[in-house]
């Protein structure tokens, strides 16, 4: 298992390098001049100098190499400096945003908590709702609960978040006035009242994202439970005289969780992508919204770094899913 994990880790390096190259070339091909916002009174030769100062004069491969060095060598050093108070990265050039002229990773680190908080919470809530629904609708297949559950999960699957989000805003913040429609990221939780405000502003974005997660995971949970409920070992367990709850919730559930857990791991990067829409809708200033504003402002280093972070998440969670599958299911051996 360990050798498999190490092999997968080593294999993911060329994958990531290739993805970064694809993103970089895509951005290189793109038209768009970072000097477009500079006043027209600035003479062309000064503009040229400014362009070179941004590193745009160099050939493509040099630019790519510099980005690689900055992202994989200098940024980790900055992180180590931050943690241990060393001075490894002193005076070295980091990935600089064209928009704000400050290091990209600093801005990403400022925005990350909001995204993680909303996205992470919605994923946990979604899973917690999905698992019982999936288990019960498989156990009582074709019952009313199962029919309704399947229908609701199909709706959750089909209604895009930009529509469900708008509907809940109209319903709960405009008509009923229960929750605020804008997520206030400067809000600090100090006591019970401020916690209630935080809870109220989180409930809508979290539930909109959680609806999608719930729909997907509960379908998987139901299918996986159905596969296992008809197996011979279930009959054996019942024949031994085990209680029904022990049969379903211990024997069947543990076996059905194996594929579901890998699906949960595989879904995590996807939910970050979905968060782009939810963040725009509820005005959460997370990384999804950061990517969108950077795109519209033609801030290529920011776009490059953010897209690459998304790619790292996908590769990482694919790896985790593969390894988890092997760890959880002793029947599967990779070596």
């Amino acid at each position: 298992m360990l050798t498999f994990t190490i092999r997968r880790l080593v294999l993911s390096i060329p994958t990531l390098l290739f993805i970064s190259l694809v993103i970089f070339m895509l951005l290189q091909l793109a038209p768009g001049d970072p000097m477009a916002q500079v006043p027209l009174t600035v003479p062309p030769e000064v503009k040229q100098k400014m362009r070179e100062a941004l590193g745009l004069g160099a050939p493509v491969h040099v630019q790519y190499w510099k980005w690689l060095v900055q992202f994989f060598w200098i940024e980790p050093q900055v992180l180590i400096d931050h943690w241990f108070g060393t001075a490894l990265s002193e005076g070295k050039l980091r990935v600089i945003s064209w928009q704000t002229r400050s290091p990209v990773m600093d801005i990403v680190m400022q925005r990350m908590p909001q995204t993680l908080w909303v996205v992470g919470m919605s994923y946990v809530v979604g899973i917690l709702i999905a698992l019982p629904i999936g288990i019960y609708s498989a156990y009582r297949q074709y019952s009313v609960f199962d029919q309704v559950g399947t229908f609701v999960s199909m709706i959750g699957f089909s209604v895009p978040p930009f529509f469900s989000g708008v509907v809940v805003i109209v319903l709960f913040s405009v008509q009923l006035g229960w929750f605020p429609s804008i997520y206030d990221t400067t809000h600090v939780v100090t006591d019970w009242d401020s916690f209630v405000i935080q809870f109220k502003q989180m409930i809508m974005p979290v539930m909109v994202l959680a609806l999608q997660t719930t729909a997907q995971i509960s379908r998987f949970m139901r299918a996986s439970m159905l596969d296992n409920l008809n197996q011979d070992y279930v009959r054996t367990a019942r024949a031994k005289g085990l209680r029904e709850s022990a049969v379903v919730l211990v024997h069947v559930l543990r076996n059905s969780m194996i594929p579901v857990i890998t699906v949960i791991a595989l879904g995590i990067p996807g939910i970050f992508g979905g968060a782009i829409i939810t963040e725009t809708l509820f005005k959460v200033n997370g990384i999804g919204q950061l990517l969108l504003t950077a795109l519209f402002a033609n801030d290529l280093p920011m776009v490059m770094t953010l897209t690459f972070i998304f790619a790292i998440l996908i590769v990482l969670f694919n790896l985790i899913a593969d390894v988890l599958y092997g760890v959880l299911d002793p029947r599967i051996r990779y070596d």
Binding site: I19, S158, V159, V174, I276, T307
Partner: protein
């Protein structure tokens, strides 16, 4: 002697009588007849398929029946409410010739919904077809030719690890201008959006098709075909492709749903078609700032998107059951 032979014939009749059919032979049934019978049992799929057909006809034939130009401005009759608002609000400004009301520039909402539906469905179908063609080609080549398998599947894995929505945003934002300049604002955008959606959604199809081809390739009928000297291209066309039609059809329905949602999401994020070219996602996002006063402008396109995607998903579910011979007939 004759007696004996008659007796022998009688015992023969008795012997084979048990093997004879008790009822008259049934008409032979074709595969698609079986598929249709199974499909009919899935009520959701039937309704979904019917609705998809209805909505497709609605956007195709709609402009010929509802002949108001969706781009015509009628400032005098702007901000009309749909006629059904009269049910609870007698004072609402409505007009019977504008059943769904008009927008803030007086454009008829019914007409813009039809035009928007045309664009959304066209993008959805085209992107789905493109991704199917790419996915099937990659899957067939990877499954059939052993030399290509490794490299094509690594390519598929790479594409699967690309962050799709961010990349779509990047591609559409950055290549909007040159394509618009080259092919006109609407044509350029159409090709760009169909292209990027198609190029980033073929991977599941490729994987499924490859798996099926790998299994089919080892079967006897392929061996027989090869032994009589059938060329590879003929084997693929005549023997392999017809056998992978069912998984392709199922992934086609999923692809259509994904393509419609992706196009709407791009329009919603403001990187879709130009502002005077309506699509369902665009109509929805344009209506969001004034959704408190005119909720119907958000609800109508949103409901249309959701219902279309819902019906496509149900259709896919039904097709999967109907096309799987292990489930069929149960």
């Amino acid at each position: 002697m004759t007696d004996q032979s008659v007796n022998a014939a009688a015992t023969e009749m008795e012997l084979y009588g048990a093997l004879k059919d008790k009822e008259p032979p049934k008409e032979p049934r074709s595969q698609w007849r079986d598929v249709w019978d199974q499909f009919k049992k899935h009520k959701g799929a039937l309704i979904g398929g019917g609705f998809l057909l209805f909505i497709t006809l609605f956007v195709l034939v709609g402009p010929y029946i509802w002949q108001i130009d969706p781009k015509k401005l009628d400032i005098r009759n702007k901000d009309l409410r749909p006629i059904y608002t009269l049910l609870w609000d007698g004072d609402a400004r409505t007009l019977w010739s504008r059943p769904f009301g008009t927008d803030n520039l007086g454009r008829d909402i019914m007409a813009t919904l039809i035009a928007g539906g045309r664009a959304s469905m066209a993008v959805g179908w085209m992107a789905m077809v493109l991704s199917l063609v790419i996915g099937t080609a990659v899957g067939v080549f990877a499954g059939y030719f052993k030399r290509l398998d490794g490299i094509l599947m690594r390519l598929t894995d790479l594409f699967l690890s690309l962050p799709i929505l961010p990349l779509l945003l990047v591609a559409v934002t950055l290549f909007r201008q040159p394509l618009r300049a080259a092919l006109g604002p609407e044509g350029g955008m159409f090709i760009l959006i169909v292209g990027v959606i198609g190029l980033t959604s073929w991977m599941p199809t490729a994987r499924i098709v490859r798996g099926e081809i790998l299994a089919l390739k080892e079967r006897e009928f392929i061996l027989a075909a090869r032994s009589i000297g059938t060329t590879s291209s003929a084997i693929i066309r005549r023997h392999l492709l017809p056998n992978v039609v069912s998984p392709i059809m199922v992934s086609a329905t999923l692809g259509l749903a994904v393509a419609i949602i992706t196009e709407s999401a791009l329009s919603f994020l403001g990187v879709g078609f130009p502002s005077d070219f309506p699509t369902w996602g665009k109509l929805l996002s344009d209506a969001v700032p004034r959704m408190t006063e005119f909720p119907e402008r958000v609800m109508l396109p949103g409901i249309l998107i959701s219902l279309t995607v819902l019906s496509v998903n149900y259709l896919g579910d039904g097709l999967r059951d109907a096309l799987d011979p292990r489930i069929r007939g149960r």
